[in-house]
């Protein structure tokens, strides 16, 4: 279920078309269609286990798909033409790993390269620029394993941005953050996205911290997605059709709540006979 026209799909930065993903015989995603335009801030919303991380891995090329296409600038994504930065939910660094933050961030530029060439001054300058952009410049000479959770998150963002990607994927960066910290991270990301002209696809189970900055939402539930603006997607009738059972979308003091019955599961059961979902 999408709200894009064919012309907008063609000009999109990222286009996911008719993607199916199954893992160990279980349907994780079915007929996923959405696109992201350059510079857009898109929320990938869904409950835990809905398939958000799987979808991010599909875009990165780390998860095989059984059907469909994923293209960037109209071309299939390969290891050589990818312009995607990635911030995983958490990376467990060995506390004794003798790698400084600045060296780890620089790996976002040349960590995948073979050869004898030494790191250039331009790369070092870009590293400094990105660490400043994420407000982590004071951490440059610290060991990556000695960072707190919040510090690590900023460093991971710098690492993802240093290659100046067109698209930045973030997997649950707001998980385990208090509301104030979550809004701070969102503000920082929006500032960086605007300055660097990077499109962002950020997965979260709570869309409220993203409401002030989100251009579009891709809502994942029941192995399917609904995409469009918040007003188009986050509606009782749309999400009820997506979940396959009645849910209420309630707005309270500017916050959106999606409420199901007490006995209902927010699940990823695939319902093959469910009719196509249409956003009016």
């Amino acid at each position: 279920m999408t709200n894009e026209t064919s012309s907008s799909i063609e000009s999109a930065l990222l286009n996911v078309g008719g993607v199916d993903v199954s893992i160990a015989g279980r349907v994780i995603l079915h007929d996923v269609n959405f696109s992201i335009n350059g510079g857009e801030f898109t929320g990938l919303i869904g409950s835990n286990g809905a398939g958000k991380t799987t979808l991010l891995r599909v875009i990165l090329g780390l998860q095989a798909i059984s059907k469909g296409t994923v293209t960037m600038h109209g071309h299939e994504i390969t290891s050589t033409n990818r312009s995607i930065g990635y911030v995983p939910q958490k990376v467990l660094f060995d506390p004794d790993m003798p790698v400084r933050v600045r060296d780890f961030v620089a790996m976002g530029v040349d960590g995948h390269r073979y050869g004898i060439a030494r790191r250039s001054r331009a790369t070092n300058d870009t590293v400094e620029e990105m660490l400043t952009a994420v407000e982590a410049d004071t951490l440059a000479n610290r060991r990556v394993g000695a960072l707190s959770g919040g510090e690590q998150q900023r460093v991971l963002m710098a690492h993802a941005l240093v290659s100046r990607p067109d698209l930045l994927l973030l997997d649950e960066p707001l998980a385990n953050l208090d509301p104030r910290s979550a809004y701070e991270i969102v503000r920082l990301l929006h500032t960086i996205a605007t300055r660097q002209r990077v499109a962002i696809l950020l997965s979260a189970h709570d869309m409220n911290p993203l409401l002030p900055v989100m251009d579009r939402v891709v809502y994942v539930a029941n192995a399917k997605v609904a995409s469009g603006t918040t007003e188009q997607v986050v509606r009782t009738e749309v999400l009820s059709a997506l979940y396959g059972h009645h849910v209420d979308v309630v707005q309270v003091h500017g916050r959106i709540l999606v409420v199901g019955d007490e006995d209902d599961e927010v699940n990823t059961r695939f319902v093959p006979d469910h009719p196509p979902l249409v956003v009016e």
Partner: protein, 276 residues
Amino acid sequence: MVSVVSAIVGVFTVLRSQSFAGHALTDVAMAGGAGASLAAVAPLVGFLGGGILGAGAMEAIGMQRVKDRDIATGVVLGAATGLAALFLYLVASSSGATGSTQLVLFGSVFTVEASTLPYVAVLSVLVLLALYLIRRPLLFSSLSTELAAARGVRLRVVGSAFMVMLATAVGLSSIVIGSILSTALLIGPAASALKASRSIARASWLAALFGVAATWLGITCAYDSYYWFPSRRGLPVSFFVVMVVVVEFTVVTVAVALRTRRAASASGPWRAVGGS
């Protein structure tokens, strides 16, 4: 040169948490060395051949996930140890094979044939060059396989290449110090250097220094030990090399602990408690 190669390869072995695999390859090299002795082939061929075959077997079973890695290592280790036991028994049983078992297990730098040296030198240079060429994707994948894969690093290729380098380093050090003790030359200097360093480059240089120091001190002590006892009987080089490695690790561990404690005292108890 062998100690330099072992030490620098050892740095990445420790970083990648593959010390168990490294140790297993020394036992696989032992099987190879014993097989070479049985077949009257040059020991270096046996040590290298066994090690590379073992590395290939581990990769085939699976080395990507930590759990798979332990399983692969354990399976190959068990098989190799069994083969080593068979070959060494056959070697010991055959006439004219006196001392071969001792050489396979514990090596002796004094008995390395001159004809072997050019091969050792060339292989050492090749391993160091190859390691330098893949150092960035290797380090990146050691830090985080997920991030490295997302950035386009071919984990299987890098991992397999490193296993071949590791097997080669183990094979080369088995000539000098024997297969059983080559773990010490692989892991000891690297572990000491990583404790005392804040960068991989510095750790590599320091590990090489520790490795060379251990080897030369070991050789010197072994040579001198001839005069220590009235019986005029020198002690093995391997023993002294391993002891120096242990002393290096102990000294570095204590020095780092003292430095950490001094730094914590200097920053004050309250700041230490509240700091990140």
